[in-house]
């Protein structure tokens, strides 16, 4: 079995492009060109150059000695938190802005929830001098004022999504509507491995640099390319897709995807899509999503805005359904505790999204000789207010 997308963008039964005809020309242009463009030497050269000198790659693979001692196993952290803009998101936006240039687009749109993808998109648009419009739910704009300010400083226009629940899924709807209204000159930079084909595969390929580096760094440190486990948090699933990518077909490597249980899977306030979702269509992709029995998409909840998405990328739906991936959901409380522990033991304040991945160390026992790589997808600066409120700091 392959765990990558087939040429129609299916991962097993999941994926595809369930889009209205208005979006067909845009996605078709991208579908016909994305692999070829990514393989062009000039594209690769510029992408690699920007990842190195602008983003700061390769990010370190750090052996977390004190954390390893506490859990009696070998824990490595893939330090995506050290990327420019503070998270893995920029790997994808660098790739997509170069793609947009190759396709001759002169206007960029994006959706954002907490603002991380919006900032990463505004950043690369500033870098390239391209017009940028970021859609963000009205409620998120109020909750994430510093990121809104960052996007504005970077020259982007932040447009509030006023429809529906006024959060990430509605921002995504608004971005898609913008694309319908501007089909020729605009490229839509989706921030995760979601949306219609070819987005999930394209974004996964741009993020795959994470596991590519893990392989060579682990070889250097441990003499082997493959860890026993790779752990990553999953909202839409882009950091996880990148961390898993080169291990998907290596079944010896355990893949652990960590979802946000929110206040508990059965609390009604959760974002644990694998546990609560059913097969359906969201944002142009057939995947697992949280919905009413009637097929209306429901609003998820997590303390972490980056995991607060009612669906999951089709790659992850397939990893879950096929049993290739182990899916664990972590509550707000356990994630917050894990974030604090990492701060105290290793001097690294993680993004709350990433804290969910660390909480797995409490849930699951690893052997002393196991090599466990945790993708530290982002840093916690953006979450300070949440940490302060939660721990009364």
């Amino acid at each position: 079995m392959s765990y990558n997308a087939d040429e129609k963008g299916y991962y097993g039964e999941f994926g595809g492009a369930f889009i209205p005809e208005m979006l067909y020309p845009n996605t078709e242009e991208l579908r016909q060109n994305y692999i070829q463009i990514m393989e062009e030497p000039s594209f690769k050269k510029e992408f690699d150059h920007l990842l190195k000198d602008y983003v700061g790659r390769p990010t370190p693979l750090y052996f977390a000695e004190r954390l390893s001692k506490k859990y009696n196993t070998k824990i490595y952290l893939k330090r995506e938190d050290l990327c420019h803009t503070g998270a893995h998101k920029v790997n994808n936006t660098i790739g997509q802005i170069l793609m947009a240039k190759k396709l001759g687009k002169n206007r960029i749109i994006a959706e954002t929830g907490a603002g991380q993808h919006g900032v990463a998109t505004a950043t690369v648009c500033a870098l390239m001098g391209i017009e940028c419009v970021v859609y963000m739910g009205e409620i998120d704009i109020a909750r994430q004022a510093p990121n809104v300010a960052r996007m504005k400083m970077l020259g982007a226009e932040v447009r509030p999504a006023l429809s529906g629940s006024r959060t990430l899924k509605d921002a995504t709807n608004e971005a898609i509507r913008d694309w319908i209204n501007n089909p020729v000159d605009t490229h839509y930079i989706i921030g995760s491995v979601v949306g219609p084909h070819p987005y999930p595969d394209m974004v996964a390929r741009f993020q795959s640099v994470i596991s590519q580096e893990i392989k060579s760094q682990l070889k250097e440190k441990e003499g082997v390319e493959n860890p026993d486990y790779v752990i990553a948090c999953v909202g839409g699933g882009s950091n996880a897709a990148g961390a898993f990518y080169h291990y998907l077909d290596t079944e010896d490597v355990g893949i652990i995807a960590v979802e946000a249980a929110g206040k508990g899977i059965d609390s009604g306030e959760s974002a644990a899509t694998s546990a609560l979702g059913k097969v359906g269509i969201i944002h142009g992709s057939k995947t697992l999503l949280m919905q009413t029995p009637d097929g209306q998409i429901t609003e998820p909840y997590s303390i972490s805005a980056g995991l607060d998405y009612p669906g999951v990328g089709p790659m992850h739906a397939h990893l879950f359904r096929s049993g290739r991936g182990e899916f664990i959901s972590i509550t707000d409380a356990d994630a917050m505790k894990a974030g604090l522990l990492l701060s105290k033991l290793e001097g690294i304040i993680p993004a709350i999204e990433s804290s969910h991945a660390f909480a797995v160390l409490e849930e699951k026992t690893f052997k002393p000789n196991d090599i466990v790589v945790i993708n530290l997808s982002g840093r916690g600066d953006k979450d300070l207010d949440t940490y302060i409120d939660y721990f009364k700091l």
Binding site: G16, A17, F18, I19, P20, E21, M22, Y24, P25, S163, G164, K169, D170, N173, I176, R177, I180, N181, N182, P183, V184, K278, V279, G280, I281, I282, H283, G284, Q291, P293, D294, G295, Q296, I297, T298
Partner: protein, 253 residues
Amino acid sequence: MNRIHQKLKEDKKILSIYFTAGYPELNDTVNIIQDLEKNGVDLIEIGLPFSDPLADGPTIQESSTAALKNGMNTELLFEQLKDIRKSVSIPLIIMGYFNPVFQYGVEAFCKRCKEIGIDGLILPDLPLDVYLQDYEATFKKYGLINIFLITPQTSDERIRKIDDASNGFIYMVSSASTTGATSGFGSEQQAYFERIAALDLNNPQIVGFGINNAETFNQATRTTSGAIIGSAFIKHLNQFGIEGIPDFIKTIR
């Protein structure tokens, strides 16, 4: 014969009206359909509301949100429509997004449509290739006509494919936009209308998006078989209620 085919044979420009089921009030559905027929409308698209209608503009999005809040759902819509054929004889089409249909079960959904007397479906996010591969046989089994969209950006080659897969009419989206976004047709639209007319397709075309009065209706139907009004009708409903339906239709023709 399917009522859509019959209607298309008549020597007139078709006026089709879209409305969102369960809006403005939950139980308005049947009254709206009856009043539209009484006032000379030729075809009705009954909108099955969806939480995330990404091809629609703010008007239809808001009416959908309100309808869901009122308690509209798939089963209830079927329940409301179960006796509709006792009083209404014009073609009825259900328009909605694919996920609610998928959750109901495509076969079960089509079966209920046939029992009620629904003539066709418009599901903008059910793509052509998936329809042909997975669902065409089911639609045909229950005598339902699937209506595809084309836009100014759709290539001639793809329009031909869509024409081949269609057996009723083609929903011609007037401009690159979501519903309710444009007003008036410029030279760009005229050129598009003429380009499509020149293709001499097997299926007649009915134009939607951007039609809100007699002028745009006449422009849109010069080279086509009819036009669809959605957002403008919903705005009117919102303002004047069901009682305002005769006045609204009079402004169109």
